[in-house]
Amino acid sequence: MKKIYILALLVGGLSLTSCFHKDKPNYQYMADTDMYFPVGYETYQEIPQGNTAFKGNMEAQLPPENTIKRGWMPFAYPNTNEGYEDAKANLKNPLLADSLAIKDHLKEGAALYNIYCMVCHGSEGDGQGILVKREKYLGVPNYKDREITQGSIYYVIYHGRNAMGSYASQITEKERWQVALYVEELRNKLLNK
């Protein structure tokens, strides 16, 4: 009789534990009926097999070419050497129009620079980022060695140049100009050293 009790206790105790695997999603209670899974399309979701409304099995579809969304303008300088020279000479930072706000823009620019640029260009802008110091990647120039303007900085962030890729998808237009402001400040510091 005592053995039966112990056995019942064991079975009962085991039934209270759930067997889930760390490398798999856990079991769910009534997940299929109770709105655990979206009915609408979620950003970045994979499109189920057989759904022909989407190209390439993914939710994110490219917009039609030559369309302009509200609050955005296409960048007028083409990704060519002429375009670079043109931007360097003619492209002006619109943020300079409000001189009182420049301090805030610089602060924002510093934060963005330290996220996106510092890893190669170094916190001083001297080309001694952590990847360069650890020799993962070489050939990053010092800002003081290059003749750059805010227009050319913006252009390079937008299109990329040589080994550097475009950062247009990471940061917005305003943020690019903030970074350009900060990069110029770094360059001036390096020149005045």
């Binding site: 209670y29 009534m30 009926t33 109770d34």
Partner: protein, 466 residues
């Protein structure tokens, strides 16, 4: 010297030349015998209805509430009607076993066991509806205040629907304990009489080793009295809480303060009628006419008459107040009930509940078994319509005429209801064949005071005591 005085006007509650042994034999006979063909036929019918209802429930839960006839205006109809109807029926059992115990009514003893069984089985039926009328019944456990991983998200204790959960579950458990406690000496009797080992084993298990010692009996009586004292406020509060589902709302026709006592009176009214229906059949088929006598039926008819009159008063009160209130919505609700599209339901309710119990003033009618049986059925039809009228006619036309609509049930609504009736009778028929349907221990306690044989002996020898 005569040690016992009983007023000579009291009629015997146990007729025939009964001894203690006769009581035992009569109560044990249905349990020890075999079911006859009629029992099997009725049982099969009940079981089929139950299984059909089960199918309807499975269909509802797996397909959705939309298979019922509900719409956006009438969100409650047959489901809650049947719920309140079954809860109401259940109330007579507790009333008979608890309230009549407190009032020392000896006539309750022959009927309390079956009345309590009826309570349990009908509360079980009632308990089905709050679950199945949920859109997502698999989350019904969220109605319980259980500590959980949603930051210990709790229930809101302001809803009468939550109070229903507590009321019905407490009611069922207390009734069950009360019933089972009373069953112990009777199960022990069946245990001691059983000759088949299997039956012996079963009745030994369910009688919890009752040996009937003086101390056991003394505690048994105390427990019964305490439970009766607890069950009485419970029985009043449970149906009060059920009535709060409506009375606490803002719907004209629902928002009334009369609902709590009026629903309780209606519950006793319909419950006693159901007891009457069941016992009139049971006394015949189980040959218990000597215990469930015409006097029992007459007394139950009187309770039906009194509670029916209370319900009638409540109807008139509601009508008066709606006129007196000067609230046009309230006035329209009652106009709509009497003359609107559901006029037939209203007049069905009125004729069944207000007029039919008034026949019980006539002695010849209330002492007629056939008439009592018919009226008991009529009352339960009327009480079903009462809940239907209150629920549906109040919501199908209320404040905004643009929301006015009609309700008609689907076969699933009807199937679920028929299924609960089937389930009730499945349980009751099984009960009648396996349980001692009369509390023989209690009946034996009144055998010498209220038995016909002993009454006659006392009359013959006024100076001798028995």
């Amino acid at each position: 010297m005569a040690s016992h005085y009983e007023a000579p006007i009291r009629n015997p509650l146990i007729v025939g030349d009964k001894t203690y042994h006769d009581v035992t034999v009569d109560v044990a006979r249905p349990v020890e015998g075999k079911a006859n063909r009629l029992w099997w036929i009725v049982f099969s019918v009940a079981l089929s209805a139950f299984l059909w209802g089960l199918g309807c429930i499975v269909y509802t839960v797996s397909t959705g509430i939309g298979v019922w006839g509900l719409n956006k205006t009438v969100g409650w109809a047959w489901d809650i009607t049947n719920f309140v109807w079954w809860v109401g029926i259940g109330h007579a059992g507790t009333l008979i076993s608890a309230v009549l115990l407190l009032f020392r009514q000896k006539w309750r003893m022959a009927i309390n066991r079956s009345a309590e069984a009826m309570t349990i089985f009908s509360v079980v039926q009632a308990g089905i509806f709050p679950i199945i009328h949920m859109g997502r019944p698999w989350l019904a456990y969220w109605t319980m205040p259980i500590p959980n991983q949603f930051g210990s998200l709790w229930v809101n204790f302001n809803s009468p629907l939550l109070w229903d959960v507590f009321a019905i579950s407490t009611y069922l458990s207390v009734s069950l304990v009360f019933w089972w406690t009373g069953l112990l000496p009777d199960f022990a009797m069946l245990r001691d009489r059983a000759v088949k080992p299997f039956q012996k084993k079963i009745y030994s298990l369910v009688s919890f080793g009752w040996s009937g010692r003086a101390k056991d009996w003394q505690r048994f009586e105390e427990v019964s009295l305490v439970l009766a004292g607890l069950a009485t406020p419970l029985v009043l509060s449970v149906h009060t809480i059920v009535s709060f589902d409506f009375a606490t709302s803002v719907i004209p026709g629902w928002h009334t303060t009369i609902f709590p006592p009026y629903f309780v009176a209606g519950a006793i009214f319909s419950g006693f009628s159901m007891v009457n229906t069941l016992l009139i059949i049971m006394r015949k088929v189980s040959h218990l006419e000597d215990y469930i006598t015409l006097q029992h039926i007459e007394l139950m008819n009187l309770v039906v008459m009194i509670t029916g009159s209370i319900v009638g008063c409540a109807y008139i009160t509601e009508l008066f107040v709606s006129w007196y209130s000067g609230v046009e919505y309230e006035q329209y609700t009652f106009l709509n009930r009497a003359t609107g599209p559901y006029w037939w339901a209203y007049w069905m309710m009125m004729s069944c509940n207000v007029f039919s119990p008034q026949f019980m003033w006539i002695k010849k009618l209330r002492r007629s078994i056939l008439f009592s049986f018919c009226i008991s059925i009529v009352v339960n039809i009327g009480m079903w319509f009462e809940r239907f009228v209150i629920i549906v006619t109040s919501v199908h036309r209320d404040y905004l005429p643009s929301s006015w609509t009609m309700f008609s049930p689907t076969f699933v609504d009807i199937g679920v209801y028929a299924g609960t009736i089937g389930f009730f009778f499945v349980l009751f028929l099984l009960y009648a064949r396996t349980f001692p349907v009369i509390a023989q221990a209690e009946v034996k306690s009144i055998l010498k005071s209220s038995g016909e044989k002993y009454k006659k002996l006392r009359e013959a020898n006024p100076n001798n005591s028995h």
